[in-house]
Protein backbone atom coordinates (compact mmCIF):
# COMPACT_ATOMS: atom_id res chain seq x y z
CA UNK A 1 0.00 0.00 0.00
CA UNK A 2 2.80 2.41 0.95
CA UNK A 3 4.61 1.72 -2.30
CA UNK A 4 1.43 2.32 -4.22
CA UNK A 5 0.86 5.68 -2.53
CA UNK A 6 4.49 6.66 -3.15
CA UNK A 7 4.27 5.75 -6.84
CA UNK A 8 1.08 7.76 -7.31
CA UNK A 9 2.55 10.69 -5.39
CA UNK A 10 5.61 10.60 -7.61
CA UNK A 11 3.39 10.74 -10.67
CA UNK A 12 1.75 13.88 -9.25
CA UNK A 13 5.00 15.84 -9.45
CA UNK A 14 5.34 15.99 -13.27
CA UNK A 15 1.59 16.55 -13.65
CA UNK A 16 1.64 19.48 -11.22
CA UNK A 17 4.72 20.98 -12.88
CA UNK A 18 3.05 20.68 -16.29
CA UNK A 19 -0.12 22.24 -14.90
CA UNK A 20 1.82 25.20 -13.52
CA UNK A 21 3.68 25.57 -16.82
CA UNK A 22 0.48 25.53 -18.83
CA UNK A 23 -1.18 28.04 -16.49
CA UNK A 24 1.81 30.31 -16.76
CA UNK A 25 2.08 30.00 -20.53
CA UNK A 26 -1.59 30.77 -21.06
CA UNK A 27 -1.16 33.88 -18.95
CA UNK A 28 2.08 35.14 -20.46
CA UNK A 29 2.26 34.05 -24.08
CA UNK A 30 -1.17 35.17 -25.11
CA UNK A 31 -1.64 38.73 -26.32
CA UNK A 32 -2.30 41.51 -23.83
CA UNK A 33 0.55 43.01 -21.82
CA UNK A 34 0.00 43.08 -18.08
CA UNK A 35 1.66 46.50 -17.83
CA UNK A 36 -0.84 47.96 -20.30
CA UNK A 37 -3.72 46.37 -18.42
CA UNK A 38 -2.56 47.95 -15.16
CA UNK A 39 -1.76 51.39 -16.54
CA UNK A 40 -4.59 51.61 -19.03
CA UNK A 41 -4.54 52.58 -22.71
CA UNK A 42 -3.45 56.16 -22.00
CA UNK A 43 -0.10 55.20 -20.49
CA UNK A 44 3.09 56.65 -21.99
CA UNK A 45 5.57 54.11 -23.43
CA UNK A 46 8.16 55.20 -20.83
CA UNK A 47 5.81 54.48 -17.94
CA UNK A 48 4.90 51.09 -19.41
CA UNK A 49 8.59 50.29 -19.91
CA UNK A 50 9.37 51.24 -16.30
CA UNK A 51 6.55 49.10 -14.94
CA UNK A 52 7.54 46.20 -17.18
CA UNK A 53 11.02 46.44 -15.74
CA UNK A 54 9.74 46.61 -12.16
CA UNK A 55 7.58 43.54 -12.67
CA UNK A 56 10.29 41.67 -14.50
CA UNK A 57 8.22 41.48 -17.67
CA UNK A 58 11.27 42.37 -19.77
CA UNK A 59 12.97 39.13 -18.71
CA UNK A 60 12.81 36.04 -20.96
CA UNK A 61 9.76 33.83 -20.50
CA UNK A 62 11.59 30.82 -19.05
CA UNK A 63 13.25 33.00 -16.41
CA UNK A 64 9.91 34.57 -15.47
CA UNK A 65 8.40 31.10 -15.14
CA UNK A 66 11.19 29.90 -12.86
CA UNK A 67 10.99 32.95 -10.61
CA UNK A 68 7.15 32.78 -10.56
CA UNK A 69 7.30 29.10 -9.64
CA UNK A 70 9.85 29.91 -6.95
CA UNK A 71 7.49 32.45 -5.40
CA UNK A 72 4.54 30.08 -5.71
CA UNK A 73 6.43 27.31 -3.94
CA UNK A 74 7.05 29.74 -1.08
CA UNK A 75 3.33 30.42 -0.91
CA UNK A 76 3.50 33.78 -2.70
CA UNK A 77 0.99 33.77 -5.54
CA UNK A 78 1.15 37.53 -6.00
CA UNK A 79 -1.44 40.14 -5.19
CA UNK A 80 -4.22 41.82 -7.10
CA UNK A 81 -3.21 45.19 -8.53
CA UNK A 82 -6.85 46.24 -8.21
CA UNK A 83 -7.74 45.38 -4.62
CA UNK A 84 -4.26 44.88 -3.17
CA UNK A 85 -5.42 41.55 -1.73
CA UNK A 86 -3.07 38.59 -2.11
CA UNK A 87 -4.31 35.62 -4.12
CA UNK A 88 -4.16 33.41 -1.05
CA UNK A 89 -6.21 35.86 1.04
CA UNK A 90 -8.84 36.16 -1.67
CA UNK A 91 -9.06 32.40 -2.09
CA UNK A 92 -9.11 31.68 1.66
CA UNK A 93 -11.94 34.16 2.06
CA UNK A 94 -14.08 32.56 -0.62
CA UNK A 95 -13.18 28.90 -0.46
CA UNK A 96 -15.58 28.04 2.43
CA UNK A 97 -18.55 29.32 0.40
CA UNK A 98 -17.68 27.14 -2.60
CA UNK A 99 -16.99 24.09 -0.47
CA UNK A 100 -20.25 24.47 1.46
CA UNK A 101 -22.12 24.84 -1.83
CA UNK A 102 -20.52 21.77 -3.41
CA UNK A 103 -20.96 19.64 -0.28
CA UNK A 104 -24.64 20.58 -0.02
CA UNK A 105 -25.11 19.87 -3.72
CA UNK A 106 -23.44 16.47 -3.46
CA UNK A 107 -25.52 15.58 -0.38
CA UNK A 108 -28.77 16.55 -2.10
CA UNK A 109 -27.66 14.75 -5.26
CA UNK A 110 -26.93 11.56 -3.30
CA UNK A 111 -30.16 11.91 -1.33
CA UNK A 112 -32.12 11.94 -4.58
CA UNK A 113 -29.96 9.61 -6.65
CA UNK A 114 -29.27 6.73 -4.24
CA UNK A 115 -32.87 5.92 -3.18
CA UNK A 116 -34.05 6.25 -6.78
CA UNK A 117 -31.27 3.96 -7.97
CA UNK A 118 -32.24 1.35 -5.38
CA UNK A 119 -35.93 1.64 -6.18
CA UNK A 120 -35.20 1.23 -9.89
CA UNK A 121 -32.76 -1.66 -9.41
CA UNK A 122 -35.24 -3.62 -7.29
CA UNK A 123 -37.91 -3.36 -9.96
CA UNK A 124 -35.68 -3.15 -13.01
CA UNK A 125 -37.64 -3.16 -16.22
CA UNK A 126 -40.84 -1.96 -14.56
CA UNK A 127 -42.75 1.10 -15.73
CA UNK A 128 -41.34 3.08 -12.80
CA UNK A 129 -37.79 2.07 -13.67
CA UNK A 130 -38.24 2.95 -17.33
CA UNK A 131 -39.80 6.29 -16.42
CA UNK A 132 -37.02 7.24 -14.00
CA UNK A 133 -34.26 6.08 -16.35
CA UNK A 134 -35.82 8.19 -19.09
CA UNK A 135 -36.15 11.20 -16.80
CA UNK A 136 -32.53 10.86 -15.71
CA UNK A 137 -31.44 10.72 -19.34
CA UNK A 138 -33.45 13.84 -20.11
CA UNK A 139 -32.01 15.64 -17.08
CA UNK A 140 -28.51 15.03 -18.39
CA UNK A 141 -29.38 17.49 -21.17
CA UNK A 142 -30.27 20.26 -18.71
CA UNK A 143 -27.21 22.41 -18.01
CA UNK A 144 -26.83 24.11 -14.62
CA UNK A 145 -27.68 27.59 -15.83
CA UNK A 146 -30.94 26.32 -17.30
CA UNK A 147 -32.12 24.62 -14.13
CA UNK A 148 -31.01 27.71 -12.20
CA UNK A 149 -33.35 29.88 -14.28
CA UNK A 150 -36.19 27.41 -13.82
CA UNK A 151 -35.68 27.16 -10.06
CA UNK A 152 -35.39 30.94 -9.67
CA UNK A 153 -38.56 31.39 -11.68
CA UNK A 154 -40.43 28.78 -9.67
CA UNK A 155 -39.26 29.43 -6.11
CA UNK A 156 -38.21 33.08 -6.16
CA UNK A 157 -40.45 34.74 -8.75
CA UNK A 158 -43.68 32.74 -8.69
CA UNK A 159 -43.86 31.24 -5.18
CA UNK A 160 -41.57 33.77 -3.46
CA UNK A 161 -40.36 31.15 -0.98
CA UNK A 162 -36.66 31.68 -1.34
CA UNK A 163 -34.37 34.58 -2.24
CA UNK A 164 -33.02 34.59 -5.80
CA UNK A 165 -29.62 36.08 -4.95
CA UNK A 166 -27.54 37.06 -1.97
CA UNK A 167 -25.50 35.54 0.82
CA UNK A 168 -24.86 35.78 4.57
CA UNK A 169 -21.98 33.95 6.28
CA UNK A 170 -22.94 30.83 8.24
CA UNK A 171 -21.45 32.20 11.46
CA UNK A 172 -23.65 35.31 11.39
CA UNK A 173 -26.95 33.67 10.55
CA UNK A 174 -26.99 29.90 10.02
CA UNK A 175 -30.66 29.75 8.98
CA UNK A 176 -30.31 32.67 6.58
CA UNK A 177 -27.13 31.16 5.17
CA UNK A 178 -28.95 27.93 4.37
CA UNK A 179 -31.89 29.84 2.88
CA UNK A 180 -29.54 31.54 0.44
CA UNK A 181 -27.76 28.29 -0.39
CA UNK A 182 -30.81 26.07 -1.00
CA UNK A 183 -31.48 27.17 -4.57
CA UNK A 184 -27.83 27.17 -5.72
CA UNK A 185 -27.20 23.75 -4.17
CA UNK A 186 -30.43 22.40 -5.62
CA UNK A 187 -29.39 23.69 -9.04
CA UNK A 188 -26.14 21.76 -8.90
CA UNK A 189 -27.87 18.69 -7.44
CA UNK A 190 -30.31 18.62 -10.35
CA UNK A 191 -27.31 18.02 -12.59
CA UNK A 192 -25.74 15.52 -10.17
CA UNK A 193 -28.44 12.98 -9.40
CA UNK A 194 -28.99 11.55 -12.90
CA UNK A 195 -25.37 10.45 -13.18
CA UNK A 196 -25.40 8.97 -9.67
CA UNK A 197 -28.68 7.17 -10.32
CA UNK A 198 -27.76 5.73 -13.70
CA UNK A 199 -24.44 4.25 -12.64
CA UNK A 200 -25.58 3.02 -9.24
CA UNK A 201 -28.70 1.45 -10.74
CA UNK A 202 -26.86 -0.75 -13.23
CA UNK A 203 -24.32 -1.58 -10.54
CA UNK A 204 -27.04 -2.71 -8.13
CA UNK A 205 -28.87 -4.76 -10.73
CA UNK A 206 -25.68 -6.79 -11.11
CA UNK A 207 -25.15 -7.04 -7.34
CA UNK A 208 -28.71 -8.22 -6.68
CA UNK A 209 -28.05 -11.28 -8.84
CA UNK A 210 -25.15 -12.41 -6.65
CA UNK A 211 -25.48 -15.62 -4.66
CA UNK A 212 -24.91 -13.95 -1.31
CA UNK A 213 -28.00 -11.82 -1.83
CA UNK A 214 -30.02 -14.96 -2.45
CA UNK A 215 -28.50 -16.39 0.73
CA UNK A 216 -29.38 -13.29 2.73
CA UNK A 217 -32.89 -13.53 1.37
CA UNK A 218 -33.09 -17.22 2.24
CA UNK A 219 -31.96 -16.45 5.79
CA UNK A 220 -34.98 -14.20 6.06
CA UNK A 221 -33.16 -10.92 6.48
CA UNK A 222 -35.25 -7.80 6.22
CA UNK A 223 -35.56 -6.33 2.75
CA UNK A 224 -34.28 -2.94 3.84
CA UNK A 225 -31.25 -4.56 5.46
CA UNK A 226 -30.42 -6.54 2.35
CA UNK A 227 -30.75 -3.51 0.14
CA UNK A 228 -29.01 -0.89 2.22
CA UNK A 229 -26.32 -2.99 3.89
CA UNK A 230 -25.58 -5.99 1.71
CA UNK A 231 -26.32 -4.67 -1.73
CA UNK A 232 -25.19 -1.08 -1.30
CA UNK A 233 -21.80 -1.89 0.22
CA UNK A 234 -20.12 -3.23 -2.92
CA UNK A 235 -21.50 -0.23 -4.78
CA UNK A 236 -19.62 2.16 -2.49
CA UNK A 237 -16.75 1.82 -4.95
CA UNK A 238 -18.97 3.06 -7.72
CA UNK A 239 -20.14 5.98 -5.60
CA UNK A 240 -16.56 7.02 -4.93
CA UNK A 241 -15.80 6.84 -8.65
CA UNK A 242 -18.80 8.94 -9.60
CA UNK A 243 -17.96 11.50 -6.95
CA UNK A 244 -14.45 11.67 -8.35
CA UNK A 245 -15.67 12.13 -11.90
CA UNK A 246 -18.19 14.71 -10.73
CA UNK A 247 -15.69 16.99 -9.00
CA UNK A 248 -14.57 18.64 -12.23
CA UNK A 249 -18.11 19.22 -13.39
CA UNK A 250 -19.10 20.41 -9.93
CA UNK A 251 -16.33 23.03 -9.95
CA UNK A 252 -17.41 24.27 -13.37
CA UNK A 253 -21.05 24.21 -12.29
CA UNK A 254 -20.24 26.06 -9.07
CA UNK A 255 -18.63 28.77 -11.15
CA UNK A 256 -21.84 29.36 -13.09
CA UNK A 257 -24.14 28.93 -10.14
CA UNK A 258 -22.15 31.31 -7.93
CA UNK A 259 -22.33 33.93 -10.66
CA UNK A 260 -26.09 33.51 -11.12
CA UNK A 261 -26.93 33.53 -7.43
CA UNK A 262 -24.31 36.14 -6.48
CA UNK A 263 -22.52 33.87 -3.99
CA UNK A 264 -19.06 35.13 -3.00
CA UNK A 265 -17.20 31.90 -3.83
CA UNK A 266 -14.15 30.93 -5.88
CA UNK A 267 -16.11 30.81 -9.12
CA UNK A 268 -17.30 34.36 -8.74
CA UNK A 269 -13.79 35.47 -7.82
CA UNK A 270 -12.57 33.97 -11.09
CA UNK A 271 -15.33 35.42 -13.25
CA UNK A 272 -14.87 38.79 -11.55
CA UNK A 273 -11.12 38.64 -12.24
CA UNK A 274 -11.90 38.01 -15.91
CA UNK A 275 -14.33 40.93 -16.13
CA UNK A 276 -11.83 43.31 -14.53
CA UNK A 277 -8.83 41.74 -16.31
CA UNK A 278 -7.17 41.11 -12.96
CA UNK A 279 -4.62 38.75 -14.47
CA UNK A 280 -2.63 38.00 -11.31
CA UNK A 281 -5.73 36.81 -9.48
CA UNK A 282 -6.84 34.88 -12.55
CA UNK A 283 -3.50 33.10 -12.94
CA UNK A 284 -3.25 32.31 -9.23
CA UNK A 285 -6.82 31.05 -8.91
CA UNK A 286 -6.60 28.88 -12.03
CA UNK A 287 -3.40 27.32 -10.72
CA UNK A 288 -4.84 26.74 -7.24
CA UNK A 289 -8.08 25.27 -8.57
CA UNK A 290 -6.25 22.98 -11.00
CA UNK A 291 -3.80 21.86 -8.31
CA UNK A 292 -6.67 21.27 -5.90
CA UNK A 293 -8.48 19.29 -8.58
CA UNK A 294 -5.40 17.12 -9.20
CA UNK A 295 -5.02 16.49 -5.48
CA UNK A 296 -8.69 15.63 -5.06
CA UNK A 297 -8.43 13.13 -7.90
CA UNK A 298 -5.41 11.70 -6.12
CA UNK A 299 -7.44 11.30 -2.92
CA UNK A 300 -10.23 9.62 -4.88
CA UNK A 301 -7.66 7.24 -6.41
CA UNK A 302 -6.38 6.43 -2.93
CA UNK A 303 -9.90 5.83 -1.58
CA UNK A 304 -10.48 3.58 -4.53
CA UNK A 305 -7.36 1.59 -3.70
CA UNK A 306 -8.43 1.28 -0.07
CA UNK A 307 -11.82 -0.03 -1.12
CA UNK A 308 -10.57 -2.36 -3.83
CA UNK A 309 -7.35 -4.28 -3.05
CA UNK A 310 -7.03 -5.43 -6.66
CA UNK A 311 -6.09 -1.91 -7.76
CA UNK A 312 -3.19 -1.38 -5.37
CA UNK A 313 -1.75 -4.75 -6.32
CA UNK A 314 -1.94 -3.87 -9.97
CA UNK A 315 -4.44 -6.52 -11.05
CA UNK A 316 -7.03 -4.08 -12.30
Amino acid sequence: MLGFVARRLLYLVPVLIAVSLLTFLIASLLPGDLAYVILGDQATPEKVEALRHDMGLDQPVWWRYISWLGHVLQGDFGRSFRTGQTVLQAVAERLPVSIELMLLAEIIGLAIGVPLAIACAVRSGSAFDRFMTGTAFGMLSVPAFLSAILLIYLFAVELRWLPATGYVPFREDPAGNLRFLVLPALTLAVAEWPGIMRVLRSDMIATLQEDYIALAKAKGLKASRILFVHALKPSSLTLVTITGINIGRLIGGALIVETIFALPGIGRLLVGAIYTRDLIILQGVVLLVAAGFVLMNFVVDMLYAVLDPRIRHGHA
Binding site: F137, P143, I149, K217, I226
Partner: protein, 290 residues
Protein backbone atom coordinates in the same frame (compact mmCIF):
# COMPACT_ATOMS: atom_id res chain seq x y z
CA UNK B 1 -43.64 -9.54 10.44
CA UNK B 2 -43.23 -9.42 6.78
CA UNK B 3 -39.61 -10.26 6.47
CA UNK B 4 -39.13 -10.01 2.78
CA UNK B 5 -41.65 -8.66 0.42
CA UNK B 6 -39.29 -7.33 -2.11
CA UNK B 7 -38.99 -9.19 -5.32
CA UNK B 8 -35.31 -9.73 -5.80
CA UNK B 9 -36.28 -13.08 -7.16
CA UNK B 10 -36.82 -14.15 -10.69
CA UNK B 11 -37.32 -10.69 -12.08
CA UNK B 12 -33.84 -9.54 -11.28
CA UNK B 13 -32.19 -12.90 -11.71
CA UNK B 14 -32.96 -12.63 -15.38
CA UNK B 15 -29.96 -11.08 -17.08
CA UNK B 16 -30.59 -7.45 -17.90
CA UNK B 17 -32.45 -7.31 -21.16
CA UNK B 18 -30.15 -6.52 -24.00
CA UNK B 19 -31.14 -3.23 -25.48
CA UNK B 20 -33.07 -3.82 -28.66
CA UNK B 21 -31.23 -2.86 -31.77
CA UNK B 22 -34.26 -1.21 -33.26
CA UNK B 23 -34.25 2.56 -33.25
CA UNK B 24 -37.47 3.77 -31.65
CA UNK B 25 -39.74 6.70 -32.50
CA UNK B 26 -37.83 8.90 -30.03
CA UNK B 27 -34.72 8.42 -32.13
CA UNK B 28 -36.53 9.56 -35.26
CA UNK B 29 -38.15 12.47 -33.43
CA UNK B 30 -34.68 13.57 -32.37
CA UNK B 31 -33.43 13.26 -35.96
CA UNK B 32 -36.42 15.29 -37.16
CA UNK B 33 -35.77 18.08 -34.64
CA UNK B 34 -32.06 18.15 -35.52
CA UNK B 35 -32.91 18.41 -39.21
CA UNK B 36 -35.40 21.18 -38.50
CA UNK B 37 -32.89 23.24 -36.51
CA UNK B 38 -30.18 22.54 -39.04
CA UNK B 39 -32.28 23.63 -42.02
CA UNK B 40 -33.56 26.73 -40.22
CA UNK B 41 -30.02 27.73 -39.28
CA UNK B 42 -28.64 27.06 -42.76
CA UNK B 43 -31.40 28.97 -44.52
CA UNK B 44 -31.60 31.83 -41.98
CA UNK B 45 -30.60 34.36 -44.65
CA UNK B 46 -33.27 33.22 -47.08
CA UNK B 47 -36.12 33.14 -44.60
CA UNK B 48 -38.37 36.20 -44.46
CA UNK B 49 -37.06 37.20 -41.04
CA UNK B 50 -36.42 40.63 -39.52
CA UNK B 51 -32.78 41.32 -38.70
CA UNK B 52 -31.70 39.68 -35.42
CA UNK B 53 -29.68 42.73 -34.39
CA UNK B 54 -31.97 45.64 -35.36
CA UNK B 55 -33.21 47.30 -32.20
CA UNK B 56 -36.57 48.95 -31.83
CA UNK B 57 -36.79 50.79 -28.54
CA UNK B 58 -40.53 51.44 -28.98
CA UNK B 59 -41.25 47.72 -29.28
CA UNK B 60 -39.35 46.41 -26.27
CA UNK B 61 -40.57 43.05 -24.97
CA UNK B 62 -43.50 43.21 -27.37
CA UNK B 63 -45.68 40.14 -27.27
CA UNK B 64 -46.33 37.85 -30.19
CA UNK B 65 -47.71 39.52 -33.29
CA UNK B 66 -47.85 39.05 -37.06
CA UNK B 67 -44.75 41.18 -37.38
CA UNK B 68 -42.80 39.49 -34.57
CA UNK B 69 -43.99 35.89 -34.35
CA UNK B 70 -42.37 35.26 -30.99
CA UNK B 71 -42.34 38.88 -29.85
CA UNK B 72 -39.26 40.99 -29.20
CA UNK B 73 -36.56 40.98 -26.53
CA UNK B 74 -35.48 43.64 -24.04
CA UNK B 75 -33.92 45.75 -26.79
CA UNK B 76 -36.79 45.34 -29.24
CA UNK B 77 -35.01 42.74 -31.38
CA UNK B 78 -37.05 40.03 -33.06
CA UNK B 79 -36.99 36.92 -30.84
CA UNK B 80 -37.60 34.35 -33.58
CA UNK B 81 -34.82 35.77 -35.76
CA UNK B 82 -32.47 35.71 -32.79
CA UNK B 83 -33.42 32.11 -32.01
CA UNK B 84 -32.69 31.01 -35.57
CA UNK B 85 -29.47 32.98 -35.92
CA UNK B 86 -28.52 31.73 -32.46
CA UNK B 87 -28.97 28.18 -33.75
CA UNK B 88 -26.34 29.03 -36.34
CA UNK B 89 -23.77 29.92 -33.69
CA UNK B 90 -24.63 26.91 -31.56
CA UNK B 91 -24.34 24.55 -34.51
CA UNK B 92 -21.17 26.12 -35.94
CA UNK B 93 -19.36 25.99 -32.62
CA UNK B 94 -21.08 22.74 -31.62
CA UNK B 95 -20.05 20.92 -34.80
CA UNK B 96 -16.64 22.47 -35.49
CA UNK B 97 -15.18 22.12 -32.00
CA UNK B 98 -15.74 18.33 -31.74
CA UNK B 99 -14.38 18.14 -35.31
CA UNK B 100 -11.04 19.36 -33.91
CA UNK B 101 -11.37 16.87 -31.07
CA UNK B 102 -12.22 13.90 -33.26
CA UNK B 103 -9.42 14.63 -35.75
CA UNK B 104 -6.55 15.27 -33.35
CA UNK B 105 -7.80 13.12 -30.47
CA UNK B 106 -8.81 10.29 -32.80
CA UNK B 107 -5.44 10.30 -34.59
CA UNK B 108 -3.47 10.45 -31.33
CA UNK B 109 -5.58 7.72 -29.77
CA UNK B 110 -5.22 5.38 -32.74
CA UNK B 111 -1.47 5.93 -32.96
CA UNK B 112 -1.09 5.44 -29.21
CA UNK B 113 -3.22 2.32 -29.21
CA UNK B 114 -1.45 0.84 -32.23
CA UNK B 115 2.20 1.64 -31.57
CA UNK B 116 2.07 1.53 -27.74
CA UNK B 117 5.39 2.09 -25.94
CA UNK B 118 6.90 5.49 -25.15
CA UNK B 119 4.63 7.33 -27.55
CA UNK B 120 1.56 6.01 -25.77
CA UNK B 121 2.95 7.04 -22.38
CA UNK B 122 3.66 10.53 -23.70
CA UNK B 123 0.20 10.95 -25.23
CA UNK B 124 -1.65 9.64 -22.19
CA UNK B 125 0.54 11.77 -19.91
CA UNK B 126 -0.05 15.00 -21.79
CA UNK B 127 -3.77 14.30 -21.88
CA UNK B 128 -3.65 13.86 -18.11
CA UNK B 129 -2.27 17.39 -17.85
CA UNK B 130 -5.11 18.76 -19.98
CA UNK B 131 -7.58 16.83 -17.86
CA UNK B 132 -6.05 18.30 -14.70
CA UNK B 133 -7.93 21.52 -15.39
CA UNK B 134 -11.63 21.68 -14.73
CA UNK B 135 -12.71 22.20 -18.38
CA UNK B 136 -14.92 25.25 -17.89
CA UNK B 137 -12.20 27.02 -15.89
CA UNK B 138 -9.63 26.47 -18.62
CA UNK B 139 -12.08 27.60 -21.31
CA UNK B 140 -12.84 30.76 -19.34
CA UNK B 141 -9.19 31.54 -18.68
CA UNK B 142 -8.17 31.09 -22.30
CA UNK B 143 -11.03 33.12 -23.77
CA UNK B 144 -10.28 35.81 -21.21
CA UNK B 145 -6.73 36.12 -22.53
CA UNK B 146 -7.33 35.42 -26.22
CA UNK B 147 -10.38 37.65 -26.46
CA UNK B 148 -13.92 36.68 -27.29
CA UNK B 149 -14.58 35.50 -30.81
CA UNK B 150 -16.32 32.56 -32.39
CA UNK B 151 -13.02 31.22 -33.73
CA UNK B 152 -11.28 31.35 -30.35
CA UNK B 153 -14.26 29.78 -28.67
CA UNK B 154 -14.37 26.94 -31.19
CA UNK B 155 -10.62 26.31 -30.90
CA UNK B 156 -10.53 26.16 -27.11
CA UNK B 157 -13.63 23.99 -26.82
CA UNK B 158 -12.16 21.76 -29.53
CA UNK B 159 -8.85 21.36 -27.71
CA UNK B 160 -10.69 20.55 -24.49
CA UNK B 161 -12.42 17.67 -26.28
CA UNK B 162 -9.18 16.03 -27.46
CA UNK B 163 -8.52 13.89 -24.34
CA UNK B 164 -11.97 12.30 -24.44
CA UNK B 165 -11.74 11.43 -28.13
CA UNK B 166 -8.20 10.17 -27.58
CA UNK B 167 -9.45 7.77 -24.91
CA UNK B 168 -12.28 6.42 -27.04
CA UNK B 169 -10.02 5.92 -30.06
CA UNK B 170 -7.24 4.36 -28.01
CA UNK B 171 -9.55 1.96 -26.21
CA UNK B 172 -11.13 0.81 -29.48
CA UNK B 173 -7.75 0.48 -31.20
CA UNK B 174 -6.25 -1.52 -28.32
CA UNK B 175 -8.98 -4.13 -28.71
CA UNK B 176 -9.01 -4.16 -32.49
CA UNK B 177 -5.24 -4.30 -32.92
CA UNK B 178 -5.24 -7.81 -31.45
CA UNK B 179 -7.97 -9.09 -33.76
CA UNK B 180 -7.28 -11.65 -36.47
CA UNK B 181 -7.86 -9.38 -39.43
CA UNK B 182 -5.15 -7.00 -38.24
CA UNK B 183 -2.71 -9.84 -37.58
CA UNK B 184 -3.54 -11.22 -41.01
CA UNK B 185 -2.84 -7.86 -42.63
CA UNK B 186 0.45 -7.65 -40.77
CA UNK B 187 1.31 -11.15 -41.93
CA UNK B 188 0.62 -10.14 -45.51
CA UNK B 189 3.19 -7.39 -45.10
CA UNK B 190 0.86 -4.40 -45.00
CA UNK B 191 2.50 -1.14 -43.94
CA UNK B 192 1.58 0.53 -40.65
CA UNK B 193 -0.13 3.33 -42.55
CA UNK B 194 -2.25 0.87 -44.49
CA UNK B 195 -3.27 -1.06 -41.38
CA UNK B 196 -4.15 2.13 -39.55
CA UNK B 197 -6.13 3.67 -42.39
CA UNK B 198 -7.67 0.68 -44.16
CA UNK B 199 -8.10 -1.87 -41.37
CA UNK B 200 -8.44 0.05 -38.12
CA UNK B 201 -9.95 3.41 -39.06
CA UNK B 202 -13.22 2.03 -40.51
CA UNK B 203 -13.76 0.09 -37.30
CA UNK B 204 -12.73 2.85 -34.91
CA UNK B 205 -14.76 5.42 -36.78
CA UNK B 206 -18.21 4.27 -35.71
CA UNK B 207 -17.71 4.46 -31.93
CA UNK B 208 -15.85 7.73 -32.48
CA UNK B 209 -18.76 9.13 -34.47
CA UNK B 210 -21.28 8.14 -31.80
CA UNK B 211 -19.05 9.91 -29.30
CA UNK B 212 -18.84 12.87 -31.65
CA UNK B 213 -22.60 13.40 -31.39
CA UNK B 214 -22.39 13.35 -27.58
CA UNK B 215 -19.50 15.81 -27.93
CA UNK B 216 -21.72 18.14 -29.98
CA UNK B 217 -24.26 18.16 -27.13
CA UNK B 218 -21.57 18.90 -24.54
CA UNK B 219 -20.07 21.66 -26.71
CA UNK B 220 -23.42 23.37 -27.30
CA UNK B 221 -23.94 23.41 -23.53
CA UNK B 222 -20.42 24.73 -22.88
CA UNK B 223 -20.75 27.46 -25.51
CA UNK B 224 -24.10 28.50 -24.08
CA UNK B 225 -22.74 28.52 -20.54
CA UNK B 226 -19.88 30.80 -21.55
CA UNK B 227 -22.17 33.08 -23.56
CA UNK B 228 -24.61 33.09 -20.65
CA UNK B 229 -21.83 34.48 -18.45
CA UNK B 230 -21.13 37.06 -21.13
CA UNK B 231 -17.75 35.47 -21.86
CA UNK B 232 -18.56 33.48 -24.97
CA UNK B 233 -19.84 34.77 -28.28
CA UNK B 234 -19.37 38.56 -28.31
CA UNK B 235 -22.57 40.64 -28.50
CA UNK B 236 -24.59 41.60 -30.48
CA UNK B 237 -24.25 38.21 -32.24
CA UNK B 238 -27.23 36.23 -30.96
CA UNK B 239 -26.50 33.02 -29.10
CA UNK B 240 -28.88 30.84 -27.10
CA UNK B 241 -26.71 31.22 -24.00
CA UNK B 242 -26.59 35.02 -24.13
CA UNK B 243 -30.32 35.14 -24.91
CA UNK B 244 -31.04 33.11 -21.77
CA UNK B 245 -28.68 35.38 -19.85
CA UNK B 246 -30.49 38.49 -21.08
CA UNK B 247 -33.87 36.88 -20.47
CA UNK B 248 -32.93 36.27 -16.85
CA UNK B 249 -32.99 40.02 -16.25
CA UNK B 250 -36.68 40.15 -17.13
CA UNK B 251 -37.78 36.87 -15.58
CA UNK B 252 -40.56 38.63 -13.68
CA UNK B 253 -42.09 40.56 -16.56
CA UNK B 254 -41.35 38.40 -19.59
CA UNK B 255 -40.24 34.88 -18.60
CA UNK B 256 -40.70 33.74 -22.20
CA UNK B 257 -37.50 35.60 -23.19
CA UNK B 258 -35.49 33.16 -21.08
CA UNK B 259 -37.66 30.09 -21.64
CA UNK B 260 -37.87 30.16 -25.45
CA UNK B 261 -34.12 29.82 -26.02
CA UNK B 262 -33.91 27.49 -23.01
CA UNK B 263 -36.45 25.05 -24.45
CA UNK B 264 -34.90 25.25 -27.92
CA UNK B 265 -31.49 24.49 -26.51
CA UNK B 266 -32.77 21.69 -24.29
CA UNK B 267 -34.48 19.96 -27.23
CA UNK B 268 -31.40 20.29 -29.40
CA UNK B 269 -29.01 19.00 -26.75
CA UNK B 270 -31.42 16.19 -25.90
CA UNK B 271 -31.65 15.21 -29.58
CA UNK B 272 -27.89 14.95 -29.97
CA UNK B 273 -27.69 12.96 -26.72
CA UNK B 274 -30.47 10.59 -27.82
CA UNK B 275 -29.00 9.93 -31.26
CA UNK B 276 -25.46 9.67 -29.92
CA UNK B 277 -26.53 7.27 -27.19
CA UNK B 278 -28.53 5.12 -29.61
CA UNK B 279 -25.56 4.87 -31.97
CA UNK B 280 -23.23 4.14 -29.08
CA UNK B 281 -25.46 1.30 -27.96
CA UNK B 282 -25.45 -0.05 -31.51
CA UNK B 283 -21.68 0.07 -31.81
CA UNK B 284 -20.82 -0.96 -28.26
CA UNK B 285 -17.80 -3.25 -28.59
CA UNK B 286 -18.95 -5.25 -25.57
CA UNK B 287 -21.95 -6.44 -27.54
CA UNK B 288 -20.04 -6.87 -30.77
CA UNK B 289 -17.51 -9.07 -29.02
CA UNK B 290 -20.16 -11.74 -28.50
Amino acid sequence: MATLELSIGEEVAVTPVRRTRRLGPLFWAAIAWMTFVFVAAALANLLPLPSPTDMDMLERRASMSAQHWLGTDGLGRDELARLIYGARISLIVGLCAPMIGITIGGALGMLAGYFRGRFETLVVGSMDVLLAFPPLILALAVTAYLGQSILNLTCILGVLGIPAFMRVARAATLVLARREFVIAAQGLGATHARILLRELLPNVFLPLFAFFLLGVAVTIVAESALSFLGLGVPPPIPSWGSMIGEGRESLEIAPRLAFLPAVTMFLTVLSFNLVGDALRALTDPRQGAL
